[in-house]
Amino acid sequence: MTFLQQLINGLHVGSIYALIALGYTMVYGIIKLINFAHGDIMMLGAFTAFMTLTTFQLPIGVVLLITIIFCAIAGMLIERIAYKPLRNAPRISALITAIGVSFALENLFLILFGASSKPFPYHINLPPLSIGPLQITWITIITLLLSVGIMLMLDFFIKKTKIGKAMRAVSEDEDAAQLMGINTSTTISITFAIGSALGGVGGVLYSIAYPQIQPYMGVMPGLKAFIAAVLGGIGIMPGAMLGGFLMGIIESLTKGYISTLWSDAIVFGILILVLLIKPTGILGKNIREKV
Amino acid sequence: MSLLEVKDLGIAFGGLRAVGNFHINIEPNDLIGLIGPNGAGKTTIFNLLTGVYLPTEGEIILTNENIVGKAPYQIVQKGIARTFQNIRLFKELSVIDNVKIAFHHKMNYPILSGIFRFPSYWKEEKQIDKKARQLLDLFQMEHLANTTAKNLPYGQQRKLEIARALATDPKLLLLDEPAAGMNPQETKELMETIHFIRHQFNIAILLIEHDMNLVMGICEKIVVVDYGMIIAAGTPDEIKTNPKVIGAYLGE
């Protein structure tokens, strides 16, 4: 495979990481919590799409919409039930709670669907687009377009809308935002809803790319997306996107040119290097846009 | 010979010069006030003297040794102790443990002796317990030895922080706004405490303070800084009438 081909593959998976990383970074930005359950939201999205596809045979657009709504509601519920009571508790307790939520989701789906992998029933039967020696599948194209489109919309939302501004204000200083009349509780809920919706979309796109789903499918991509968020600078939205794409490209290139076995080790090695050189991540400090 | 001799001390943060050309001579048992408007660079000077910041220029000579580049804990061991503007106690630990930690570098038993409880552990721990209690007793806090530090009233917390600094056996004590947040009665007691410390421990004290009654009342010499530079130095009477100082405070 050529370098360009690897790069395109990297962009493909990277855009999915970026979508999931956005959810991590938004939640971290606003309540300083590493939301361990976010990877499982992605799994939740994949299973929601799976159910609507197999049981109701809905078109993919509707499936995506249902997944988004379902994941957004799930994210808000999780925040209200599990995280909100711990707002003033030690941060590590909130972290453990997030881990608890993660385990709970995984085991719930284990009970509901069993441990074995299920084929994800969605394919695009168009021949791949050939540009010279390059083969670009339609899935890659759609994934890239969709995720970039979502990111642009999100950027607009955060920068221009009232709720977006409230989100930025709360992430800067929750108390001050509250004094300025912002309903922090609602703002945090909305952040979770948006982050989880992005995670759900990521889950669907991931399942189309790697069409096997099972209850633990969110763990590794979740971890990698989280690392992507840290690489870019956690709490910084453009950082999450950059980190996600970088992560995908690095992974694809190491798998292609070095070794599949060592690919994860290299990814972690890069993470460690970046943290040691610039603990706040690539875009940390320079761009103070935190959400 | 001076206890502390600071020459041309300065630091810049990314182009912004926070402190420049700072110089001071402190003799053993001096009591000097460092004053200046908010943001003048007083605490930055403390941070430079204690090794928290590395100066971009200048020398800090403590009894014939240049201590620039030494780590904060090494500078403490050489004899400069400090308190903080916003009290930094070991909040969840007992009052006596706060003091005992400051005795750390005066103790010698090695890690293995601590883990396996060799005789040196028992001997030194007993000594240190006694010394810590004596020190607390000087501050009328011995009865609070087992209280958790965060439960002390504000004034007592300030006192404990001073006691803890003294436990490191300093030659020079830096007090960063010791009277901040105190009422007049507490401030008056604090002034007495500072006098007492200076004579009891025979040390030099450099203090940052905004309370002019306190500064003028106890310091023999005052250094005034503004925008990181010394604008005046002298006795309280000289400072009171110095037009530059009045200008800096009234914002001319």
Binding site: L110, L261, D264, A265 | I101, Y109, A165
Partner: protein, 322 residues
């Protein structure tokens, strides 16, 4: 005088507990299944108390404990396999070796990692833990992804019991020495600790390496109990599970860790009949516990038998014991 009475009470209680368990196992009242659980409890106590040193007492959130455990497990197993060790002395040597190698890695990783704080430290230790696991997966020496098999069963109830007692005692005495006070000072306020003459970097790395050392010892015990080491066992989820024990017991409380290790080892076993539901119940219990008692069972307090017995106010130098 008071202190020696406390020590006596603690030593006495430990011996009584040992004799009791010994008797129960010897007479067959506790089957080998239950003595297996006792061994796992011991190993989990070692892992949790050692992680508590780094996280609860030093205040540094570390998520790579399973990595250190893996190093100790593989090192001691390879040692006993290579030299055909079958004696208790040889086994203890292998455990120490595993601990020392793990401790050395603790220093190597700690020096760069401990410059970071909080969540960043958690992430970087997680990264190191995963790298250790991936290296183990790809080395021939460690049996690669297929795992290391054919390890002799050298771990038994007796050795686990006493090693656990020794580890907890040493951790406890460390924390209650001048060095331990320095470690606590770092947790409370690193800047102030430095400002009263504590070399903070040194103590951070030391405490971190000591935690890694004991995790390695725990790993060695684990290897010679399970007898087959799989790299997948030491995923970061395992580090997380150890952290859960620490937080549930109370950060900064060894007795809390012991209590939580017992509960969290027995609970999944007790729920075994519920099959798939047990992990769900476990995780929901965890969430509820955190919501209603975020500081864990004991917070930073220690349970003390001597306090129970003597029933009068004694200082914090109380007891540990189970």
């Amino acid at each position: 005088m008071k202190q020696s009475i406390q020590y006596l009470i603690n030593i006495f209680s430990i011996i009584i507990l040992y004799i009791l368990l010994f008797f129960l196992i010897q007479t067959g009242i506790l089957s080998s299944y239950y003595s297996g659980i006792l061994i796992l409890i011991g190993i989990n106590i070692i892992l949790a108390t050692s992680l508590n040193l780094a996280t609860g007492f030093l205040g540094q959130l570390a998520l790579g404990h399973a990595g250190f455990m893996a190093i100790g497990a593989y090192a001691s197993a390879i040692f006993t396999m290579h030299f055909n060790v079958s004696s208790t002395i040889g086994f203890i040597v292998s455990l120490l070796l595993g601990g020392i190698i793990s401790g050395i890695f603790g220093i190597i990783i700690g020096i760069p990692a401990l410059r970071l704080k909080g969540d960043y430290l958690a992430i970087i230790t997680l990264g190191f833990g995963e790298i250790i696991r991936i290296i183990i997966t790809n080395l021939e020496l460690t049996g690669g992804a297929k795992g290391l098999t054919g390890i002799t069963r050298l771990t038994n109830f007796h050795i686990t019991f006493w090693i656990t007692v020794v580890v907890v005692t040493l951790l406890y005495t460390f924390v209650h020495s001048r060095h331990g006070r320095a470690v606590l000072a770092i947790r409370e306020n690193e800047i102030a600790a430095e400002a009263v003459g504590v070399p903070t970097t040194y103590y951070k790395i030391f405490a971190f390496a000591l935690a890694a050392f004991f995790a390695g010892v725990g790993g060695g015990l684990y290897a010679h109990h399970i007898r087959t080491l799989m790299p997948t066992t030491f995923r970061f989820i395992y580090s997380v599970e150890i952290l859960v024990i620490v937080v549930l017991g109370g950060m900064g409380s060894f007795t809390g860790s012991i209590l939580a290790a017992i509960v969290l080892t027995i609970l999944p076993e007790a729920l075994r009949d519920l099959a798939d539901y047990r992990m769900l119940i476990y995780s929901i219990a965890l969430i509820l516990m955190m919501i209603f008692r975020p500081e864990g069972f004991l917070g930073t307090r220690e349970l003390s038998l001597s306090k129970l017995f003597l029933n009068h106010k004694v200082k914090k130098e109380g007891g540990k014991t189970q």
